[in-house]
């Protein structure tokens, strides 16, 4: 036996090893994410450290930079979606979420009007074993107040001036309009209607349509 083994070349030994591993692999059942164990401690840590949040201004940056390495999901109903949605979002009701077949290897950003629905959807997807799930911090309300109609600092310092200009540029890009700080103190912030759904140029078409090539793979 030993003599027979030593008469094989290295290549033949490796080939035999591959063959044996291949035979055993016939019985392999790679888990496709079917079995999921929820680790409450881990979930609590994620909630506590808020790493599962995406700031509206960060999302605005992503959209303006044309990033395509995430999937934006709008959890509101058809009517609300038709009136306004963040550029690039795809609509999915929370009831459809578990069976929507969202790719598990993508970064998924959820949003609803406020934060509750997206938080619930976040947990639902976590329970399905999704790892890259994020919530838009403050939901569409925050998107409206911080991105579309940001309040600019009055009598700005040079730093604030810089920030004001950036906020204005972002707001204009998404069809919004910045508000100046002081006028709003007595009256509740006046917000014009949400911008029309004509996508600013250079913004990705709503997802679900052709997605841009991801910067992954080779």
């Amino acid at each position: 036996m030993r003599h027979w083994m030593s008469s094989l070349t290295l290549n033949q030994k490796l080939a035999a090893l591959a063959f044996v591993l291949g035979v055993v692999a016939v019985f392999a059942k790679p888990t496709g994410g079917g079995a999921v164990t929820i680790d409450p401690t881990d979930l609590a840590r994620i909630v506590e450290t808020e790493v599962d949040h995406v700031d509206p201004l960060d999302l605005a940056d992503w959209i303006m930079a044309g990033r395509a390495d995430y999937r934006l999901v709008d959890l509101r109903d058809e009517k609300a979606f038709g009136e306004y949605h963040i550029p690039g979002a795809q609509r999915l009701l929370i009831t459809d979420l578990p069976d929507a077949g969202l790719p598990r290897n993508e970064k998924i950003v959820l949003y609803s009007d406020g934060g509750i629905h997206s938080a619930q959807a976040w947990f639902l997807l976590k329970a399905k074993g999704y790892t890259g799930v994020y919530m838009l911090l403050g939901g569409l309300d925050a998107w409206r107040d911080e991105v579309l109609f940001p309040t600019l600092a009055k009598n700005p310092t040079p730093y604030q001036q810089q920030r004001n200009e950036k906020l204005t540029a972002i707001a204009r890009h998404f069809g919004g309009q910045p508000r100046s700080g002081a006028a709003d103190t007595e009256a509740a912030p006046q917000i014009a209607a949400m911008p029309k759904l004509e996508l600013p140029s250079g913004v990705a078409a709503p997802a679900g349509a052709a997605k841009k090539k991801k910067k992954e793979g080779c």
Partner: protein, 195 residues
């Protein structure tokens, strides 16, 4: 331990670049060790007298396949989190042909051209300089070829899915294909040895 490490947040975007760099250096090292830093070695593939490219690449495929299969079986690797390139039939066929023709004419593919530059080869340098030029031309021409670029998009396809076979059986079949391929390649090499 859960993998893929990146998807489980073991490291962030910046660190992933360092990891990619280290893996890239390793990739280049083994390309060079296999002799793929030389256009002569690579091109002899097409004259059928040295099928090292086929053997090395198929060995890499089988090794990676067996590794991921067993890691997933042990529950260490979540295969559904591994990125798979979506299939876009026609552009990928044409792209493969263009790459193949360039390979025969010039003697390098993108990875091996970089490896050859690392060992100081000037023909490889011409290739590497061609990469950004080609990328730029493609980007500029993209509005015109966009329709074709997205033509025949069928999403992510896997062999077990297409043939409706158990995952493990496909793994075994690919191993058999590789072993048969290696034996066949050695036979072909002998037959086409330059006299």
């Amino acid at each position: 331990m859960n993998t893929p490490f990146y998807k489980y947040g073991a490291f962030g975007d910046e660190t992933s670049l360092v990891v990619a760099f280290v893996i890239g250096i390793g990739f280049g090292f083994f390309l060079e060790r296999a002799g793929f830093g030389s256009a002569r070695k690579l091109v002899s593939q097409f004259y059928l007298n040295d099928l090292a490219v086929f053997k090395v690449m198929f060995t890499a495929i089988v090794t990676a396949m067996l590794g991921t299969t067993y890691l997933a079986w042990m529950g260490v690797l979540d295969l559904s989190l591994v990125y798979l390139t979506p299939t876009v039939l026609w552009p990928q066929l044409v792209g493969g042909l263009v790459l193949g023709i360039g390979f025969v004419i010039g003697g390098y593919c993108p990875g091996t051209s970089v490896a050859s530059v690392a060992t100081g080869r000037l023909d490889g340098l011409a290739f590497v300089l061609g990469l950004p030029v080609g990328t730029l031309l493609f980007a500029e021409a993209f509005p015109w070829i966009r329709g074709f670029y997205e033509n025949g998009s069928v999403g992510v396809q896997t062999l077990p899915g297409v043939f409706d076979l158990p995952y493990g059986l496909v793994v075994f079949a690919v191993v058999l294909m590789a072993l048969g391929g290696f034996a066949g390649a050695s036979w072909i090499e002998k037959k086409f040895q330059p006299r």
